[in-house]
Structures are given as C-alpha cells and as structure tokens.
Amino acid sequence: MSDSSFKDANNRLDSAVRGVIERAQANRSMLRMVLVFVAAFALFAFLNPRVFLGSLNLQNIMVASPEIGVIAIAMMLSMLTGGIDLSLVSIANLSAITMSTMFTAMVTGSGEFNEAMAVPVLLVGILVGVGCGLLNGVLIGIVGITPILATLGTMQILNGVAIVWTGGSTLYGAPATFTTFGKLAIGPVPMLFAVFIVAAILIAFLVNSTTLGRKIELQGANPVAARFSGIRSKAVLIGSYAVGGALGGLAGFLFLARNPTASADYGASYVLLVIVIAVLGGTNPNGGFASVAGVVIATLTLQVVSSGFTAMRLSSYQYAIAQGVILVAVMVIDAINWRKFRNKRPAPMAATGK
C-alpha cells in the first residue's frame, strides 16, 4: 500500500516536472526574445551609455514603437488563424486619412467643439479599420480566397483609394487633442506607449481567455479539424480579421497622434517589417501558435537595435542589415534545434500517416 502511494507521488512529481519543462519549451521563443532584448539593450548601453541611456532616447523608443507594435499584433492575430494580412498598413493609412479629412472638414472656430469631436473622430477611424477588416474576413472566410492573395488585393484597393482620395499628397490636420495626447506622458511613460500596452493586454486576453481566442488558435492549428469540432470557421475568420482591422484603425490614430499628417504611402516599409516582428515574437507563420508578449518584446528589441544604431551613429541602412541578419539567424537557429529534437524522438504516429 505504501509502495503504491509512493509510486503515485513519484508519478505526480514526474508529471509536474515534465509540465514545467514543457511549458518552458512552449515559451522558448519568448525566452529567446527576452534574451536578445536584454543582450541588445546591454550592448548599446555599454557601447554608448550617455546617448543610449539618455532619457530622450528611451522616450523615443517608447514613442516610436507603438504604431509598429500595434500593427505587428494585428499581423500576429492573422497568422494565428493560419493566414497573413498584408493590408494592415493600408488600413492604418486609410483610417488616418479619414480622420484627418473628417477633422479638416469639421474644423470651426470653436476650440471646444474641436476638442469634443476628438472621440467621435477616433471612433470613425477605428470603424474604418473594422470595416476593412470585415472585408478581408468576408473574402477569406466566405468567398474562400487564400489570405495572402485576398489581403494583397485589399492592400492594393485600399492603398489605391487612399492615393485617389489624397491625390497622392500629404494631408495636414488632426484634432489638437490627438497631438496633445501624443505628447502626454504618465511619469516617464508616454501615453502612446500606454495605449500600445493596453492594446497588447486586451489582445492577449482575447487570445488566451476567451472562446473566440481559443477558436482562432484551433482554426490556425488545423482548419479541417476545427470545422469537424463544430467551430464556425467563417465567423472565427471574420471576427479575427475584424479585430485586426480595428488594430489597424488604432494604428492610424497613433500615426496622427505622433505627427498630424496623413498620406497614402506612410509606413510602406512596415508591411514586411511587421511580419518580421511577428515571426521573431514566436508566431508560427503556419498558424496555431503565437504569443502577444513575444510580439511586444520583438517590437521593442527591433526598436532598441534601431535607436542603438542611431546612438552609435550607424546608418539606417546598416540597421536594415542587422534586422535581416537577426531574422534569418533566429530562423536558422530554430531550424537546427528542431532537427535534433525530431531525430531524438521519432513520432510513433509516423506509422499511421505523415
């Protein structure tokens, strides 16, 4: 009797230990990103502490990262469903242009009125994002177009609409409240950064603690099995692209808050940059696995490297090299680990299928 209870306890301990190990492995990409972040931060802090650790630089990192970070989280969300969203930056620009135009059209003498309009304008901007996201969701979920092509198409359409709308020029004008908001800070933390963190927490909550989030994950892990488990795939896809669109709209607001201009081709390089960030943050491009915290840290890491390069007086071109090298290196290291892992444990299921 004592023997069996000992065995039982032993088993329980064993499974607890394994659980910890496995959880650590699941969060491996996250851990790795934290390490890279700390290493990058330490490196630049060591190389040029005066500039890099200056409050101006740290503030800059926190002001510059939100707009990219919010779009990267949206990208992560679409990758979690097994898709991709190339239209996010176009959505953000369209939303910024809408907000700017709306504001300019309504501008009157009264400052109070302008202030009062800030919230409705913001809501309209986000609604534009949701609308574009819904369009993506319908094309992908109901019409059945492959995400990369559907969003490539909507990217061109939305961008085209933006070009036509603005005539290719830059619009000036944003509610003063936006710009003030962009300069506000809670202690050392700029408001923009707070918005980013709040958005990240909300999406993390959506993914981890709501049924929609779980369904998104399962849809991405195996769309066929998701359908066969009674998950309404169309609704899940439309929902997740709509949320992505809302984040795009929010990014449009962040564009305007940082500087009160809007144009069709702002942030063109972001389209691919956010894919880089999402993947670095541990998002599996094939779907089913992602971590919001990983994406946040990846965003900050790239921003730290970027401002570190500036502090070192290196050019943005050299930063582009570093960015590419980091991405490829991380992927290669991952691939090597994977192989070893596979060889050690031939999957018993290999016999029943591929």
Partner: protein, 350 residues
C-alpha cells in the same frame, strides 16, 4: 464530350484562355471607345513599360511554381545592376553590353545563392527568409556600394538606352519599340523552354506540388531549390540592368517596394501560391493585362492613381471566381461512387 474537351483545352490548365478573353475584350472595348488606343504607338508603349515587370515576373514565376514566395527579387535586381554601374563608373571602364549583363548576372547569382542556400539547407519558409535577406541585401548595397543617384550611365549603356528596333511616325506621333523589349521576349522564351523541356523545369513543378513526395521519388530537391534561387537572381539582375538602361539613370532606391505588384501579376496569370501550378503564357498575359489597363485608364481620363485599386479589384475578382468555382465543383454530388472521390478531394482541399 469532345467539344467539352476542346473547350477545356482552350481554357488552359490555369485559365489562360479566360485571361486572354478578358485582355482581348479590354483591347476591343478600348479601341471602340478611343481609336487612339488601337495604334502602334500604344502597343509599343505598353510593350516598353511591360519589359522590366515581365522579366521580374518570370523570376517570381519560377519561385511560385516551386512552392515558395520571394520578396527579395526587386532588391536583387537593383543591387546587382546598381553595383555593376557603380563599378564601371568608379573604374571609368567601358565594356560591351554583354559584359555588363555578365557582371550583373554574377552578382545576382551570388545573392540568389544566399537565398537558396538558407532556404533549402534549413528548410525555412521562403517568405520569411527572403524578407530577411532583402533587408540585408538592400542595407549592404546602400552601405557598402553607395546610395548615390547616378544621372549619367557608362557610355555603352547610355548608347543602348536610345536604340529602338522599330521607329516610325504615325498619325498619332512617333512610335518606337525599344530594343530591350527583345531581352524580355528572349527571357520569356528561355524560361518557357526550361520549364517545358528540361528535367529541372519539370522537377520544379513536382517539388512545388509535393516537397516530401518529390524527395521520396528521388528528385534532388535541395539542389533544384538552390539552382532555382540562383536562376531567380540571374533573371532579376537582367531586369535590373534593363531598368537602369531604360530609365537612363541609376537610382539605388528604384524597383524596391514593387514586389507585391509583380507577385499580383503572376498570380493573376494563374500561378498557384501553393506551388506546382503556373505557366509562362499566363504570366505574360497577367503582366500585359496590368499594363494595358494602366494605359487604358490614362486614355479614358481616369487618374492613374486608380491603377492600384484596379489591379487589386482584378486580383480579388479573378482569385475569388476561382475559389468559388472550386468549391462549387467540390460540392456537386453525382453518384454513389463519385461522392466518395469528391469528399476525399474536398477534404484534401480543406
């Protein structure tokens, strides 16, 4: 039965027939609307503007057939051509055009080799790797080669930029056909021949269809993949040289950022983003369609700003129709035995 078979053949494996009809419809419609459209001037202008996109599209086609996506090809194109020009200008040497192409091709091949090696050896997702390498290549060019705009080209290139194979005056002004259009035509024919008549070409389809299966069947997948990306680098470098020559100036920031437009054209031409499918014929039609629409919009007086939106709509409508019809086909129920096959096919698709 036989009529259906012929119709199917006419439609083409990747709907090339449909695409051709759309293209003809636009040409006929535009010609009726505006007689200026149906002239040698317009035709030559379309061909000229299609030259560089066409060559780039060929390189994209190869990658897409093999089951990948490459976003680094514009950078490869401009980096190899711009580096070549920089070398020639810095050393003050003037070499025949063949040598210009050869230097650019060598650089393109090396850059392609980097892509191919990383992708094939570590079996990484092509989109992500080429995203990374595009940054590396672009940054390296601007840092180590230079970021200057050269308004003057080496003499041979400058001379080539004004050579036309056809040059005459019509009622609508001068019509000239640039000599580099020939380069696009030759490249198109070469890629077509490679895909159709070489084992490399056929392997590309097999690998794109089923990577594991191709490996098991004895295809040398790693070698084929690396070779593919080297070839992509070489073809892209041709486009780079053509671009710099035709624009009569070397700007290191050119072409970059247009990758998705080219991919859109190739997909419009019937290539499957999942690999295994795609044809040179379809790609030619896809590229021409976009250029013709561009030209048409101008003639009808629609601002060229609408072009991007038009391409987007075209892409969504084209791919959307394919997606819907594929699903319809999968849903139709014929007989007891057919049901089995269909449901199996459906599951595979899903």
């Amino acid at each position: 039965m036989d009529i259906r078979k012929t119709l199917r053949k006419l439609q083409g494996r990747n709907n090339e027939g449909t695409l051709l009809l759309v293209l003809l419809a636009i040409v006929i419609g535009m010609s009726l609307l505006n007689p200026v459209f149906f002239t040698a001037n317009t035709a030559f202008a379309v061909l000229r503007s299609a030259t560089v996109p066409m060559i780039l599209a060929l390189s994209v086609l190869l990658v897409i057939i093999s089951g990948g996506i490459d976003v680094s090809f514009p950078v490869v194109a401009i980096a190899s051509a711009y580096t070549t020009v920089t070398i020639l200008l810095a050393t003050g040497t003037d070499v025949p055009m063949v040598v210009v192409f050869a230097i650019a091709a060598a650089i393109g091949a090396i850059l392609g080799l980097v892509n191919g090696f990383v992708i094939a050896k570590f079996r990484l997702p092509t989109l992500i790797v080429t995203l990374g390498t595009q940054g590396v290549f672009f940054g390296a060019m601007l840092t180590y080669v230079g970021a200057k705009y050269f308004p003057e080209l080496p003499p041979t290139m400058a001379a080539l930029s004004t050579v036309n194979i056809l040059d005459f005056t019509t009622a609508h002004g001068r019509a000239n056909l640039h000599v580099l259009v020939l380069l696009a035509i030759v490249a198109t024919l070469l890629v077509w021949a490679v895909l159709k008549w070489t084992m490399f070409g056929r392997s590309l389809y097999a690998i794109g269809d089923d990577y594991e299966g191709a490996h098991r069947a004895g295809f040398r997948v790693v070698r084929t993949q690396i070779l593919t990306y080297v070839l992509v680098g070489v073809i892209a470098s041709m486009a780079g040289v053509a671009h710099i020559t035709m624009s009569r100036a070397a700007n290191p920031q050119d072409l970059v950022g247009g990758e998705l437009d080219i991919i859109a054209a190739v997909v419009l031409g019937g290539a499957s983003i999942f690999g295994g499918r795609g044809s040179v014929g379809g790609t030619v039609l896809g590229v021409l369609l976009i250029q013709v629409i561009n030209n048409s919009l101008l003639l009808v007086g629609v601002p060229s700003a609408w072009l991007r939106a038009a391409v987007g709509i075209l892409l969504i409508v084209g791919v959307g129709i394919q997606a819907v019809s594929a699903r319809r086909k999968a849903q139709r129920v014929h007989s007891v035995e057919d049901v089995m096959d269909l449901t199996v096919a459906q599951r595979k698709e899903a």
